[in-house]
């Protein structure tokens, strides 16, 4: 391919996709960039125009439509940002029509789409870093199991209740039921949330399991994003996303309110060894799913992980794409030409490419209109003003997220995280402060409020993360030394000792028969 003739098409419209478009634009191949989005992200739109490409509004989960545009624009390959096009077999359809695609095909993307299937795979292939789980098709079914041993401390007391399918990061509740005196309260909430999940999952017909119950774990979380061509896997620097909507780690789960990335490949609270182990786990999941479905995984994959007492590095969920905002951290320190990486993924020779990253720290903070994430209607349709020059002068980079550039040139908020701001520095805490100074340059012109988390990357929060990591590391290493890592055991009066691991294995082998 001749450099200036290359045409690349991207899908999606969040800050992650803005960062992807920018990484493509930076390439020495100087590609012309084309894009499809459900809304017109102003940042992506501008990059397309500047590069001599084009932007079109289109449903990104409709394989026919995507193919139609790819053909119309005669693109050399397509890169997919978000997960839903993967779940809707967009990569599969593109390839069937002879258009290369950097993106996980539907069958391999199942590791993200079905949180239940991902766990089954882990257990079936005997990987480390897994959690006990149960799946249910109705809240009644779930409740009968949760209630069964409710007066005994089994693993079912402390659980995460999730939709069994990836559903836009919504509906995860973590209920730790350790205080007997608050048991009724917690139990009632669990049952109500199971009802809520059943209702919520009615809109997804592509999966049988509706409710997933997993054992609750605690520890520091981190995301390990990787490039893979299906043969080899290249890990990127670890990033930590902050899922809680509000300061002090309080409030509803969001897609991510901000992320930090340390210098080098690890975070200040994760060791090199834990990084290697995490990479091994993500790699084994990629190999397992390829083996299971007989298809090559080519694109991006990420493990959203946690250090846990019971397993050490543990998978919480998988992504079949880059994280948002995590993508911004890694793409901004990526030294290797991003287009070269895409080409290596497509050609299956990623192992020959040296993927390098700048060693500086990065912090990203998301800014969202009030109403996100629970009441997105309130967060929508507010005119936005951004002083991009001031942000630049302040030492930050700026990415459009859930923002729609309309025909009249006006930018309106679209209900989710509106923009993300990134700063690079030699220290996480410094980068965090630089961002805080730039936040006032973003405004909603009708006076509606915005919010963000000033505490992400603050010294206080870093201390807290270190403290949690130290405690959990001591515990899992002790278990490892004793040879009981991964072992669980429950005691039921009148029934006796119960090994939930053995029970789960039995259940899974019965199901597969």
């Amino acid at each position: 391919m001749e450099g200036n003739l290359m045409k690349i098409m991207g899908l999606g419209n969040a800050s992650r996709e803005h960062a992807i478009a920018e990484a493509l634009e930076r390439s020495d191949h100087h590609p012309r960039i084309f894009w499809l989005g459900d809304i017109r992200n102003p940042g992506i739109f501008n990059i397309c125009k500047k590069s001599g490409g084009d932007f079109a509004l289109s449903k990104t989960t409709d394989p026919e439509k995507v193919v139609e545009y790819a053909k119309r624009w005669c693109v050399d390959f397509v890169i997919i940002g978000p997960e839903e096009p993967n779940f809707h077999a967009v990569p599969d359809e593109l390839e069937r029509k002879g258009i290369p695609c950097v993106g996980a095909s539907r069958d391999v993307a199942i590791i993200e789409m079905s949180k239940a299937e991902m766990r089954r795979l882990q257990w079936e292939y005997g990987m480390s870093g897994k959690l006990l789980f149960k799946t249910f098709r109705s809240s009644k079914e779930a409740y009968s199991v949760l209630e069964k041993y409710s007066d005994t401390l089994t693993w079912l007391q402390n659980v995460a209740l999730k939709p069994a399918r990836q559903a836009g990061g919504k509906g995860v509740k973590v209920v730790e039921d350790q205080q007997l005196y608050l048991h009724d309260e917690k139990q009632r909430f669990k049952s109500k949330h199971a009802d809520w999940l059943e209702g919520y999952m009615k809109s997804y017909s592509d999966i049988e399991d509706k409710i997933l119950v997993e054992e609750k774990v605690w520890g520091p979380e981190y995301t390990l994003q990787c490039f893979t061509d299906g043969r080899c896997i290249k890990g990127m620097p670890l990033v930590q996303d902050n899922k809680h909507a509000h300061e002090f780690d309080i409030g509803t789960e969001t897609g991510g309110m901000g992320s930090i990335c340390g210098s080098g490949f690890t975070l200040p609270f994760i060791t090199k060894k834990e990084y290697e182990e995490s990479l091994k786990i993500v790699n084994s999941l990629v190999r397992a799913i390829q083996d299971k479905v007989g298809k090559r995984y080519h694109g991006m994959v990420a493990g959203q992980m946690m250090l846990t007492e019971i397993e050490g590095p543990t998978i919480i969920e998988m992504y079949s794409r880059l994280g948002d905002p995590e993508a911004l951290n890694v793409l901004n320190t990526l030294k290797t030409d991003f287009v070269d990486i895409c080409l290596a993924i497509l050609d299956g020779n990623l192992s020959k490419l040296n993927v390098e990253f700048d060693k500086r720290s990065t912090v990203v903070k998301a800014i969202a209109p009030k109403g996100y994430p629970n009441n997105r209607k309130l967060a929508k349709n507010h005119p936005v003003f951004v002083d991009e020059q001031a942000i630049k002068r302040g030492g930050c980079k700026f990415y459009w997220g859930s923002a729609d550039l309309n025909e009249g040139g006006e930018i309106l908020s679209a209900g989710s995280r509106l923009v993300e701001i990134l700063a690079i520095s030699d220290e996480i805490t410094k980068a965090s402060k630089i961002i805080d100074r730039c936040v006032p340059y973003i405004k909603l012109l009708d006076g509606w409020g915005l919010f963000y988390r000033s505490d992400i990357g603050s010294p206080e929060l870093m201390c807290k993360r270190m403290d949690v990591a130290d405690r959990v590391r001591m515990l899992y290493q002790y278990r490892r030394d004793k040879g009981i890592l991964g072992k669980r055991i429950d005691w039921l009066p009148k029934v006796g000792k119960m090994d939930p691991v053995a029970l789960l294995r039995d259940e899974l082998s019965k199901k597969s028969e």
Partner: protein, 437 residues
Amino acid sequence: MAGIFGFYAFGDERVNWDSSKFIYYGLSALQGRGQESTSLVIYTHHDNTEPLRWISGEGLVDEVFGKIKQDYMKGFLGIGQVSAEKRDYAIKVEKPIELALVGDGKPALHDNRQKSFQIFAEMLSKKISELRDPLEATKTLIREVGGGYSFITLTKDEKMICGRDIQGIKPLEVGAIGFDIGAVASESSALDVIGAEQSGFVKPGETVMFDPLSIEKRHIKNKTAYCSFEYVYLARLDSYLNSISVSNVRDMIGQRLSEENPVKAEVVIGVPNTAIPFSMSYSKNSGIPVKYGFTRTGRHVRSAIKPSQFDRIVGVQLKLNPIRTSVDGKEIILIDDSVVRGNTLRSTVYNLKRKGAKKVHVRIGSPPLISRCPFGTEVPPEDELIGKALSNDEIAEIIGADSFAYLSIDGLCESIGLPESSLCLGCFTGKYPERPT
């Protein structure tokens, strides 16, 4: 003095939480900060035209809560207070903005703690109505009003706003449960008890506002002066206040005591409960064995904050029955947390000698109390304070001890790990921190 607690649930399913359960246990954990009155204000449901519901009564948390039907207290937001003063309840302001307010410490608006908070709450209501921005209104009020206080207020439109005075004299800690709940409390132990993860604290001069869509903070220029008495006596041993572990401070105090005024003896005994950790680290550092000296009768009564003299003596005698084999024929180092009037100690030393103690050397884990507390801690009038009136030798003579010594001011600051300039040491020095202007 008081203990305050606030509970705030977020998200689509927030109405499924019953805050009163959590506040009940949170306040129970703070019971040591006040045992005379209990209050609870619940936000029942936004469909109600009068969503705020007040419950107040004299006595302990379980005495007051026990009388109320559970359904009456149900609601997904709420605040509560325990106080060391009688009939000291959550404050209600109806106009112009309806709000409920609980507070610890005392704003400098009136000599009386309750009246002071009443005025504070009325000013807040007025300011919110004037400025139409509750966060800015609260910030402005904190800037205007001196004193040492922390407070939590709940408004009719589902806002929970909390804050601390510019010097952060009174503590206020923040925690979280899962993806649903935020909580604030006078001490972190109250957060532990409801299963919340402690995630930080409200900073001096800071305002934090919880509303259904966000948590917002505002800062003003501040100058830290944390209450040192919290670390010596008021707070629970399992609490962190302002990111400082109370337990660590008390270990350090025991160590410092053994270094500042060493004395030869056979056994170290701590007065329950506060002085037990002092005695343990005193023992570790001095090499003199520590023993259990007393067994307690009845529930835990905080004798220093009991309102009447008679109650205090009863509290002491019920609390402390010496264990004879620990003391008989021995030279003893007796450690207590503080001396107010000297009555408790006199009675304790007498009882020890009756049980055969040969010598009793008294060591106090704090400097002499010589001055009032303008920030709402119930220190008796200065002419009742034995540390103000008498020298160490005189005190030893009166209480019947063989020697008597306090912890030094330096020793206290070093134990807390902060310089004198970052602490309020007013009750020990008579000098109160100056508010920044």
